[in-house]
Subunit: 374 residues, 2 copies
């Protein structure tokens, strides 16, 4: 039997996704340590939230069962990204950093981590949908990047569609020489739920503001629903996919994004004020709904990339009721890849695109990929 | 710049898929040789069809442009799998064998190739849906298998759903600790086309025998349509998925498979005789159609795996017209994974599941994976 090898894992972010990830990491560590072919010992050597950082100067493994109370009683305030990078770079085994936050500061430090040989896996969209120069810095430093980089590996499957195999599939289409002509889909669980309720196939559905209220109450929106309705979350995901397919999109605000926040409500001071005033604008959305119904269609909030003309677009669009996008259920995502090889009928991937467990699954999947490459 | 490395590729099978693969290999070889980070030289060192084998005793690269005429004028009769294994094992660079046939003899030799350190990538279903002992021999020899094997790598994405990311997705669900409860779908392009025409949503559709005739004329069936209608192709794919998810399915004939060949026509001597007599049995299929229509449903030919009860099933099933399986178009495949994490709405993958280009794409994708691991 080959000698077991040690791989260190560092986790930043211990919220919803972070908690699910640590639980999946626990099972994975048990399974990999028992592998007869190539036993691998995964040890958590750093765990950080926005306030505190758990770690030891001698890289002792942290407990995967009592991490919550350990973090609670920890007295070390949160290390900065450069401090974390120095700590991890000095470790005596390969290190994979798992960023389960949506923090821009940590995203900005990815090139630093990668250059120091630390691999990065993350659902954090900020790094890949921020400035194009950050994207370039990341992928020119990474070993699985675009240049001569010999640093760590980087994977971010869960940054689009959570655990759905969206980015890996798109990369494989590109790498095997297919010509991707168009990408279209519903990329937001919130928007999916909202429009599937607002205008279900077959008629019915409530007023728009009431549906937003319901979605918020059921936990399908951000604490402030404006963070979903402004379309930026979808725009970030489209930016990532467009860049994977080779388009040099400058940022998530460099193409048309339709916001569902009425102009007159852009100055609202709070989410509560916004929610209170939103019903006044139900008429506008009813008009859109009636127009679509008159054509035998439904309205959905989608993102699309036309690769040939390099056009990225986010906003409302009408679909025939027999279209797969119209038939979507609950808060599911759907992503259609139109390519030369697949012809008229696209390659479609569909399912839950948000939620702690499935997001963490994409991260854990990326982690297993890096472990195989190390 | 790091020193370029050499990887050898050997190809068995130069028919429809083989031809598309060699074309994709040509582009991939050009791209990988120009990579600034890790230039890789891919050389084709053996090309074999059922009659002849092109290769040189000094492992000189074969031409990727004139291979057809070179094979035509070649005078070496086809080497046997053990002869090929000996030739490849003595090469001075890592070798990846690409089996683009559906030949059982070559499939039976995979353990031999793998043990000699030769990696195998293939769309050939025979190896993975044959006896369970062959499956075990393959995955205990492979480095990415289940045991202590230190041989070559093995990948077979295109053995189910062609280039659709079916096997890789299922493996990731399992590896990250999700609990797959059920798999259901349309796994045959032929059956998809046939039933989408025979009983389209919204009514209409021709008589069954006429639709089979049409499908044959359009090239959607095997030369002898009985090879599709007996359900064995779907049974083979289900066997593969059931084994990936951990069920010890003995073979593709060890669970219920509904054949669409009427009992009285099982003794037909030829495909032509079968096609001539099939219309006599249209009444049976019409009855099934009417029964489904009476319930507001459509009939489709599907495969399903119930993981908990370890039950695999292939045959006709009724679906609501709003079900994604009913809404399938053309000859598309659809595969739904029901899992604990994904809850009520499954993770769905849909698109063309047959055809030279998309099948070859799955093979080329597997090839790039092995190259990364080598």
């Amino acid at each position: 039997m080959p000698a077991p090898r040690q791989v260190f894992v560092a986790v930043i972010g211990a919220g919803g996704v972070g908690r699910c990830f640590i639980s999946q990491l626990t099972s994975l560590a048990t399974r990999l340590s028992q592998s007869t072919a190539s036993p691998t010992y995964l040890s958590l050597i750093l765990l950080s939230n926005s306030k505190k950082t758990l770690h030891s100067s001698t890289y002792l493994p942290l407990s995967l069962s009592s991490w919550e109370s350990d973090l609670e009683s920890c007295t070390t305030s949160a290390l900065s990204p450069p401090e974390i990078a120095d700590y991890l770079a000095a470790a005596q085994a390969p290190v994979i950093l798992v960023d389960n936050t949506s923090n821009q500061n940590i995203a900005d430090a990815y090139p630093l981590f990668l250059k120091k040989g630390i691999s990065v896996v993350t659902p954090n969209k900020k790094a890949f949908s921020g400035s194009y120069s950050l994207w370039n810095d990341i992928f020119s430093a990474a070993k699985n990047g675009t240049g001569t980089g010999l640093g760590g590996f980087v994977f971010h499957e869960s940054s689009v569609g959570a655990g759905l195999p969206v980015i890996s599939t798109l990369k494989e289409l590109v790498e095997t020489g297919d010509e991707v002509t168009r990408i279209e889909g519903v990329f937001s669980g919130t928007m999916s739920f909202l429009f599937n309720s607002f205008m279900p196939v077959g008629g019915g559905g409530g007023k728009f503001a009431a549906e937003v209220k319901k979605a918020k109450e059921l936990g399908y929106t951000e604490p402030d629903p404006r963070d979903d309705l402004n379309g930026l979350d979808v725009a970030r995901k489209l930016t990532i996919l467009a860049r994977v397919v080779g388009l040099e999109v400058e940022s998530a605000t460099s193409f048309p994004v339709q916001s569902l926040i009425p102009k007159d409500l852009e100055s609202c001071k709070s989410g509560d004020e916004f929610m209170e005033k939103l019903p006044k604008f139900d008429g506008d959305m009813e008009k859109i709904k009636e127009e679509a119904a008159g054509e035998g269609k439904v309205v959905r909030f989608v993102g699309s990339i036309d690769v040939g003309s390099k056009k990225v677009n986010v906003g409302l669009k009408k679909f025939d009721t027999s279209h797969p996008i119209a038939a979507l259920k609950g808060s599911d995502n759907i992503i259609s890849f139109y390519t030369k090889r697949y012809g008229e009928n696209p390659l479609i991937i569909q399912g839950a695109g948000a939620g702690g467990e499935v997001t963490a699954m994409g991260v854990t999947g990326d982690l297993t990929k890096v472990i195989r490459f190390l």
